[in-house]
């Protein structure tokens, strides 16, 4: 057995690999267990079968969509445009591999020892690693960080068969496009895939159980997105749940139910985007007395579990199951273990972004949540209809909405939909982190013409001072 480590991270996804690198930077003797054959492999779901390849496909979709919707008016007339989904998938795989290779390089550079195989905690400070070939062996570490992520989820009757009923992983490698597709789930994952396949000419229907798409955002965002998707020819069924699926029929027949009653939809492929469940089975956590919080490992704001010396980060450690949340937890855990932690996790200030077109981004409370929390609020909403940068980009749908505390001007929540808003959420996240008020955002001269001006206008609008409304 190798010498005892200071910290052993189980899982090399966006939470685990960031944790390992930070720990190594801090001079800790660091190891990382990763089963390369597992869903993630180095880089986890995010780099292999999630955020990164999905964004690559979305860029292809955006190109297609721009040509279709705006090419002619922008002076680019494209004739005989051929959709080559296979080439788009190849490109996304290439990017994915480049980035996962980058993590191996960073591990080497920072002297993070990699243990290929599956990790299982066998006792305090001891992890058994089972490689694909060869005998299991033990690794000892003073601190164990569980970063095993989450896996695709479905429910009875809708089991993923990888062929006609698929999950995000299969969707990311779907080279032969069906004629029709139903996406079950209108969260970020669902709307992103709907965007991609619709742009490539698939007849897409989105079925969402809740009343709006992207339900973690302010309802206005979801409604605007649904309107935009419908304009592009998609069918959006919100407030609708799936009841049953006849997969023997050709095409398959999906039965859904809404307030209006039941109806059937014919489809070639069903894409399940109904969430992901944390991977905790077979990790040996029960033996250590690690407390759970539902399906997740229960942690405090320093990512410490209830068992001494055991930390949990990323999707396995609770919602929101987002890569950047996990990465940040990785840093907090590493610094905590090294004794240099400055700031605990602030779960109320994690941005969430959907990269569909138009993009959607949210942080903090929705308007209703702010009211329920007892705030007297001022809402500043700035539509992009006549926004200079949005118009020049050819994407002037959407808005930026800031919910501010009426008394103190505190920025309680920001919700936006529109061109490139994924890049705007950082400004308001930082403003919130610094406890800026709307006044500080309004007082800063934002570059013109930029989408960021929309944030400034929304801040002004909370004070009834917007210029361009």
């Amino acid at each position: 057995m190798a010498e005892k480590l200071d910290i052993l991270v189980i899982g090399a996804g966006p939470a685990g690999y960031v944790c390992a690198i930070r720990a190594a930077q801090l001079g800790l003797n660091t190891g990382c267990v990763e089963a390369s054959t597992y869903e993630g492999g180095m880089g986890g779901t995010c780099l292999n079968w999630g955020c990164i390849p999905a964004k690559a496909l979305l860029e292809s979709a955006s190109l297609v969509q721009n040509l279709k919707a705006h090419g002619e008016e922008m002076g680019v007339r494209a004739e005989n445009v051929v959709y080559d989904m296979s080439a788009a998938v190849d490109r996304s795989r290439f990017i994915s591999e480049k980035l996962t290779g980058g993590i191996r390089f960073l591990f080497k550079k920072n002297k993070v020892e990699v243990f290929e195989g599956r990790g299982r905690v066998t006792g305090p400070g001891t992890v058994e690693v089972t490689p694909e070939e060869g005998d299991p062996y033990l690794v000892e570490a003073a601190n164990i960080v569980v970063a095993t992520g989450a896996a695709m989820m479905s429910f009875p009757g809708f089991e993923i068969d990888g062929d006609k009923v698929i999950g995000s992983r299969e969707a990311l490698a779907l080279r032969n496009l069906p004629e029709r597709m139903v996406v079950v789930g209108g969260g970020y994952v669902g709307v992103e895939f709907a965007d991609v396949f619709s742009a490539f000419g698939v007849d897409v229907t989105v079925v969402e159980m809740l009343d709006t798409l992207v339900p973690v955002s302010d309802p206005e965002v979801g409604k605007t997105l649904a309107r935009s998707f419908k304009k592009r020819g998609m069918t959006i069924k919100t407030g609708t749940k799936v009841v049953s699926l006849d997969r023997e029929a050709s095409p398959m027949v999906l039965t859904v139910e809404s307030k209006k009653g039941q109806e059937t939809i014919e489809t070639d492929i069903l894409l399940m985007a109904v969430g992901r469940k944390p991977v905790t089975e077979g990790l040996g956590l029960e033996a250590l007395g690690v407390e759970m919080d539902g399906p997740w490992i229960k942690i405090n704001e320093w990512c410490e579990s209830s068992a001494p010396g055991v930390y949990a980060i990323g999707d396995v450690a609770g919602q929101p199951m987002l890569a950047h949340k996990g990465s940040h937890e990785g840093i907090v855990a590493a610094e905590r273990i090294a004794g240099v932690a400055h700031h605990p996790m602030r779960y109320d200030n994690i941005p969430s972004v959907g990269y569909c077109h138009p993009e959607v981004a949210s942080i903090g409370l929705t308007e209703d949540e702010a009211k329920e929390a007892g705030h007297e609020i001022k809402v500043g909403k700035y539509p992009l209809t006549s926004h200079g940068r949005a118009l020049t980009a050819g994407h002037n749908e959407g808005f930026v909405k800031i919910i501010a505390d009426a008394r103190y001007g505190e920025i309680l929540g920001v919700h936006m939909i529109g061109y490139n808003v994924s890049e705007l959420i950082g400004e308001v996240g930082m403003a919130r982190a610094l406890e800026s008020t709307v006044e500080e955002i309004a007082a800063h001269a934002h570059a013109h013409p930029s989408m960021a001006e929309a944030v400034m206008e929304a801040a002004l609008a909370t004070m009834d001072r917007a210029i361009h409304i």
Partner: protein, 447 residues
């Protein structure tokens, strides 16, 4: 698990500390909150307490030495524990960085754990952290307040909450980065119902002093923030370019002390214990005059004028190597006896350098008296964010003309330094008129 004892930042402006005396010796077994050492800071002598128990393994800085804030001065751990790496680190630090080391801007951490509270079952072998700043979250002492500029690091939300609640951010301990006052600090201050400074968490050696009791009943003034007129803004803008960040001007007035000295004599004659000093009377009269002229009991803050709801008088006390201003709070609502008792107690401890930070911060007006040094008249420098300070000269016999005749009277000259952004010549003069009227006719005090 070894823990470091470091030179804590015990006052907002402290950059280094002198180790006056160790209260423990190497090999001593100690418990949490035991006194470890006495430290002389730029403001007061204070003690460092142990945050946890253990054995004093090493004392690195001997009594009499001065080291920068954050420097390692000793090590606590378990008997027989290997601390060679810590010692090497200390040596490296000592040889590598002289006293110029950056003042630690983070928490006034008394002890800095080398490893986080690790589970007993998994003996932590984490190496020494390359910790530029300590990993322990402790409340910061008074918000990174600069004595020179009076600026306080505070988040915009915190400032607005404090304003609405009638609190001064300078009175609130900041727990954000670098002592920044953030929302949660103001919320805590509001729920604690303090408008006086929040108790600092430093471990001062002074006997725990009960907070000053301010008489019951509604205060006579209210905290309020005024939006200055454009003219006033222009005055503020232009004058600072002339004389510095606080544009001073000076008003001198001579007052007749005859009656007030008689009154004092009479009062002291009736007192069995304690005496009322001239300065106590001046504090009382000043406080009363301020209550009648709230425009003087104010501060220039972030382009607004802050009128204070409480009249808190700082008394400048000369101490060895400097001066300090203990504060009598709510002085306009306290009787002379109470003021005299509090002032004497505060001044006594000030001279022993035993004041707590909250006892010398946050005055709204100061009185500085050099009469005992036979100084006829002088000008004092305003201590921001206060807007004025009263410099009191000696009382001496002078020939004055009263009703056409030359007579000998007890006269005293006071000079008020005023912040011209807040106070104008006329408003300052009216204040001094009230002051003079009360001194010369003490019955005014009860009117």
């Amino acid at each position: 698990m070894a823990t470091k004892i470091v030179m804590a930042q015990l006052s907002p402006t402290m950059e280094e500390g002198k180790l006056l005396e160790w209260k423990v010796a190497e090999g001593d077994t100690i418990e949490a909150s035991d006194l470890l050492a006495e430290i002389e800071t730029d403001k007061a002598n204070m003690d460092i307490e142990a945050l946890g128990g253990g054995v004093v393994l090493k004392i690195l800085v001997q009594a009499g030495a001065t080291v920068p804030v954050g420097a390692l001065i000793g090590i606590i751990g378990e008997e027989g524990e290997d601390i060679s790496s810590l010692l090497a680190e200390a040596e490296a630090a000592a040889s590598g960085t002289p006293v110029e080391a950056e003042p630690v801007e983070s928490a006034p951490v008394v002890e800095e754990p080398v490893v986080p509270p690790a589970p007993p079952a998994t003996p932590a072998v984490a190496p020494e952290p390359v910790a530029p700043t300590p990993g322990v979250e402790l409340p910061h002492s008074h918000a990174g307040e600069s004595a020179v500029t009076g600026t306080v690091k505070a988040s915009p939300v915190a400032r607005r909450m404090a304003d609405e609640a009638g609190l001064l951010v300078s009175d609130i301990s900041g727990s954000g980065p670098g002592g920044r006052v953030i929302k949660r600090d103001v919320e805590a201050a509001i729920s604690a119902g303090v408008s006086a400074p929040a108790p600092a968490k430093s471990t001062a050696a002074a006997p725990a002093q009960a907070a000053q009791t301010v008489p019951a009943g509604p205060p006579r003034l209210v905290d309020e923030t005024l939006e200055p007129s454009q003219m006033r803004k222009a005055i503020a803008r232009r004058l600072v370019t002339s004389i510095g960040p606080v544009p001073h001007f000076f008003l001198t007035i001579e007052v007749d002390m005859g009656r007030i000295l008689e009154l004092r004599k009479a009062m002291n004659g009736r007192l069995e214990t304690g005496k009322i000093g001239v300065n106590d009377i001046l504090v009382k009269v000043t406080a009363e005059a301020l209550a009648r002229h709230p425009e003087i009991n104010a501060s220039w803050q972030d382009d607004t004028i802050r009128r204070h709801g409480s009249v808190d008088i700082g008394i400048a006390v000369a101490i060895e190597d400097g001066l300090i201003t203990p504060v009598v709070r709510g002085a306009d609502r306290k009787g002379l006896l109470q003021i005299a008792a509090e002032a004497s107690e505060l001044v006594g401890r000030a001279r022993e350098k035993r004041l707590l930070p909250e006892e010398y911060q946050g005055a709204t007006f100061s009185v500085s008296n050099l009469g005992m040094f036979d100084i006829d008249q002088f000008t004092a420098i305003i201590n921001p964010p206060e807007a004025a300070i009263l410099a009191v000269g000696s009382t001496s016999e002078k020939a004055v003309v009263v009703d056409g005749e030359i007579t000998v009277r007890q006269r005293m000259r006071v000079t008020m330094s005023c912040d011209h952004r807040v106070i104008d010549g006329a408003s300052g003069a009216r204040f001094l008129q009230t002051f003079k009227a009360m001194i010369e006719n003490p019955l005014e005090l009860v009117l």
